[in-house]
């Protein structure tokens, strides 16, 4: 709706041209495709995986244990929990300036509406006014971003609260121009002052000066990728129900219940054991329900203390997007030295990450980025430094694959740039620079387990890569205004299972049925199913006997967050360890009663005074490296690009993913497909847009922000899990799967870039060009740089 003026002007002319092409007879064949629309055929997919019947229910293809509840509509999310009588509803009031001071707030118009009960602001906070992102729960004076919470309206219905929140006005002073992009921050040298060691900066190996001097060619370039909204389908939502004696029941869609207690205590002064936090599930998280989920719970708890009644809030999508940050945009300026055969002699990079208005979680993300560069490539002379930009935008936070995704994206763009400069095939250049098993990365990780060569060769073969390379070249020679592109991307993703501890608590009931409570949160990743499978496996009982209970802070308070692609594995490991505790206890009874059924065993156990409650905590010992293992994968993407309009059709993607020995192939294939699609959306259609004058978020809803829909997915999607590749260092031989596949979305971006490049070269433009993600229709078309004089009919 807004801007994109040059694109629109180009489009008018180009569409007229397309129209004439579609009408005129006897045109040169290379022009004809400009006059036809791409007809998207029905999509299809293939899946390949391996199960191990000896281990069932582990490794089996089992839909989620909640599948039927979900497809029947019975599954209960926080907003489905009935409100107790007397519940009030909260709606945020947000600042609409990017930088300045709050002078006063006028809520009188809101409070005049019947049914509006109160307006809460900073003065209502009993103790410390700070949320988990280091930003005030309600602003007291300083405004640091457009969208910062300044208060909350309470009303008898959510609709009324939402309406009333729009009637609250605020007065500001000292309104200053703010910084609203990573490029502006770099220009203004607006960086957070940090200890570079905290983000592993700089990473240095060998001597880049020597490497450049030994190179056939040295050149510079720039690559960047933007922000991304988590876009969990379920909004931010929470409810607090007060009980007696300052006790509170909290229902929250959160991935980080273990932090919730301490932040509630800090805001209210009430000790943590008064809060019972219960989480059944989240309707998606992706990191958006980590620290972001805590502020609303603090706000409604403060409201509940003041009004002594249940309080509930469901944030509108607009309120959510204006208030909370997402993925950290990243930009890299690089200088690289190469030999003419494609060998990389030296790489020097300055990497920038946009932390937003508050640094919050950015240091670990920037650190992850720096230590996962340079993806799969062994570059002996290497120097990378990082800086965190400070802007007046939302404070960015963990978003599925934080740090890892830009690390892969930035590196792969540099590799493709190198190939373009040298006129070599990118896949040849990439393979040439691969690590070998046993090599050490610039940050000291020893690649003891390297199977990228196998994966690379396998996916090239199964995707008919060489054949399709030739077909794409043929197509491009025969078509001037539509081009195809092909790209192959490897991903090396470091996993750290020592960062979080997780627990499982099991209770066997008198009838032999089992209830498991674990410290992870079901956010759609199938964790409850994997924990149930692990429990069934270790106890040797049917899956149907097992029930997984909602998270409860009274049972498993001390645990890590659900994130990092390690939680399912750790909770399954805890379930197995807990099961072993019980098996040990009943071993003597089992020996004496070898033919006893499970129910009989339980009765005997009760009779013998053996406790039917047992637990285990898994806390992997810290390691002297950043990662205890690596996840490897590769993807081939083929796209078709309309040079005149910028529209892209993703024709085919082939993915080969090393999942180790999958605990549940249905769940893991689903994770690969879903994560890949989130990565595809990141590079294709999802773009954060801000008003450059005051930082107002323009992409504040589904009208401007576009996650992929069913028509955006690859027409042909083939996913294979690598066979016969158990992970020697993780539970049951499995590997992380939640985040790594996002990085493979980079292949789609590079395929588009290749298609654009093909058209540019054909029309005499430089094949080397700067092209930042996302490849939206306007970005693509502008990069094609079509001159109207080129729109001819002969």
């Amino acid at each position: 709706i807004y801007g994109r003026i040059q694109y629109r002007k180009n489009l008018v002319i180009n569409i007229f041209y397309k129209c004439f092409v579609s009408i005129l007879p006897s045109l040169p064949p290379t022009i004809v495709s400009a006059g036809t629309n791409y007809i998207r055929p029905l999509s299809s997919g293939k899946e390949a995986y391996q199960t191990n019947p000896g281990e069932y229910p582990l490794s089996q293809y089992i839909p989620k244990i909640e599948a039927k509840s979900q497809t029947s509509g019975e599954a209960q999310y926080v907003d489905d929990i009935p409100s107790p009588p007397g519940t009030l509803y909260g709606a945020y009031v947000l600042a609409n300036i990017g930088s300045g001071d709050l002078v006063s707030i006028d809520a009188s118009a809101a409070l005049a509406l019947p049914g509006v009960v109160d307006f809460l602001s900073a003065k209502d906070i009993p103790a410390t006014n700070i949320n988990a992102n280091g930003i005030e729960i309600f602003a007291s004076k300083t405004i640091i971003y457009n969208g910062q919470p300044i208060g909350m309206v309470l009303a008898q219905t959510q609709a009324l609260a939402n309406e009333a929140s729009g009637l609250v006005t605020a007065q500001y002073t000292n309104v200053k121009p703010g910084i609203y992009s990573i490029q502006d921050a770099i220009k203004a040298q607006s960086f957070y002052v940090i200890n570079p060691k905290d983000i592993n900066s700089p990473v240095s190996q060998g001597s880049v000066a020597t490497g450049f001097s030994q190179s056939d060619q040295v050149f510079t370039g720039s690559t960047a990728c933007g922000g991304q909204i988590h876009f969990h389908m379920e909004p931010q939502v929470c409810m607090v129900v007060p009980g007696e004696n300052s006790e509170f029941q909290i229902f929250s869609a959160t991935q980080i219940p273990s932090y919730m207690g301490s932040f509630l205590t800090s805001a209210t002064g009430i000790p943590a054991n008064k809060f019972t936090i219960s989480v059944r599930r989240c309707g998606g998280g992706y990191g958006g329900k980590l620290t972001n989920s805590i502020g609303p719970v603090q706000a409604i708890t403060i409201a509940s203390i003041k009004h002594r009644c249940p309080i509930r809030t469901v944030l509108t999508l607009n309120s959510n997007l204006r208030q909370f940050g997402g993925r950290h945009p990243a930009l890299a300026d690089y200088k690289v030295g190469v030999l003419n055969d494609g060998t990389i002699k030296a790489l020097q990079m300055s990497v920038y990450v946009d932390g937003g208005c508050a640094i919050a979680d950015t240091e670990p993300v920037a650190q992850t980025l720096l230590i996962n560069l340079p993806n799969c490539y062994n570059i002996q002379n290497y120097y990378v430094s990082g800086a965190i930009c400070k802007t007046n935008l939302q404070s960015n936070t963990y978003t599925r694959g934080p740090g890892w995704l830009p690390a892969v994206f930035l590196t792969e763009n540099i590799l493709e740039d190198i190939a373009n400069r040298l006129n070599l095939d990118p896949d040849v250049v990439k393979r040439k620079n691969f690590y070998n098993k046993g090599d050490v990365t610039p940050t000291g990780e020893i690649l003891r387990y390297w199977n990228m060569d196998t994966i690379w060769d396998q996916v090239k073969s199964s995707s008919d890569f060489e054949l399709r390379k030739a077909q794409v070249a043929q197509y491009n020679a025969a078509n001037k205004w539509t081009k195809k592109g092909l790209a192959l991307v490897p991903v090396k993703f470091g996993v750290n299972t020592t960062q979080n501890k997780h627990s499982a608590y099991m209770n066997i009931l008198n009838d032999g049925s089992v209830v498991v409570t674990h410290s992870g949160i079901e956010i759609g990743q199938g964790i409850n199913t994997k924990v149930a499978q692990a429990t069934a496996y270790i106890l040797g009982i049917p899956l149907s006997l097992i029930s997984v209970a909602p998270y409860n802070s009274n049972i498993v308070p001390d645990c890590g967050a659900t994130g990092g692609s390690v939680t399912s594995g750790l909770c399954a490991e805890a379930a197995i360890a807990a099961g072993k505790v019980f098996l040990q206890k009943i071993a003597p009874i089992r020996q004496q009663n070898p033919n006893a059924t499970w129910q009989q065993l339980i009765e005997l156990a009760i009779g013998n005074g053996i406790s039917l409650s047992f637990q285990a905590t898994v806390d992997h010992a810290s390691i002297p490296y950043n990662f205890d293992y690596f996840s490897y994968s590769a993807a081939v993407a083929q796209v078709q690009v309309d040079i005149l309009t910028g529209t892209v059709n993703v024709e085919r993607c082939d993915i080969l993913f090393d999942c180790g020995t999958s605990m549940n192939v249905a769940v893991d294939i689903g994770q690969v497909q879903g994560a890949f699609m989130m990565g595809l959306g990141y590079v294709l259609t999802e773009q954060m847009l801000y008003d450059p004058n005051d930082g107002t978020l323009i992409s504040d809803g589904t009208w401007e922000y576009k996650p992929p829909s069913v028509k955006d997915i690859p027409i042909d999607l083939r996913v294979a899990l690598l066979k016969n590749a158990p992970n020697p260092v993780n539970v049951l031989g499995s590997k992380a799967v939640g985040e790594p596949p996002l990085c493979l979305g980079t292949a789609v971006f590079l395929a588009i870039k290749a298609a654009i490049r093909s058209s540019r070269i054909e029309r005499g433009l430089p094949g080397f060009f700067t092209f930042y993600a996302p490849a939206t229709v306007d970005n693509v078309q502008l990069a094609c740089a079509v001159d109207p004089s080129q729109l001819v009919f002969s």
């Binding site: 029905l42 989620k64 039927k68 029947s72 294939i669 589904t702 996650p707 829909s709």
Partner: protein
């Protein structure tokens, strides 16, 4: 001013299977089936609507079917059963909308030889599955409908 979604999820009605996602007609989590009798065509007309936008007052003269109306965990509708077994539901929040879009389309096109169920999912966003297993479920439903 009250929307159909708000009414369905209200304490008096308590049909919370239909979800509030974006609240602005862009995500499809709120889709339900609306049916009315068209005297000109002399038949029932079924359509999928975004209940988050649909004013309750305009439902006058219509029948509304929500996900609860199709089946429950003890007795699933074939659409629900197929979507579950294809692992077409991860976090599950888009799922009721997906089911109702499929149902609405199938009700609206009972005699069509080859249904394109992929077409009817255009207004339903899913962030978890990448759509592949949902489309696979739709294909199975297509072929079973063609058989019957």
């Amino acid at each position: 001013q009250q929307t159909l979604l708000h009414y369905l999820r209200s304490p008096d009605v308590r049909l919370t299977g239909t979800k509030l996602g974006c609240g602005e007609g862009g995500c499809g989590a709120c889709v339900v089936t609306l049916t009315h009798y068209d005297p000109k065509q002399k038949k029932l007309v079924h359509r999928a609507v975004n209940s988050c936008l649909f004013p309750l007052c305009l439902v006058d003269g219509h029948a509304v079917v929500t996900i609860e109306g199709l089946g429950n965990t003890k007795n699933l509708h074939p659409i629900q059963k197929t979507l579950a077994s294809c692992h077409g539901s991860q976090c599950g929040f888009c799922t009721p909308g997906m089911v109702m879009s499929l149902y609405s389309y199938m009700k609206a096109h009972p005699e069509q030889e080859k249904l394109d169920l992929e077409q009817c999912l255009d207004g339903n966003l899913c962030r978890c599955t990448g759509y592949r297993p949902i489309i696979d479920a739709a294909r199975i439903l297509e072929s079973s409908m063609n058989q019957s």
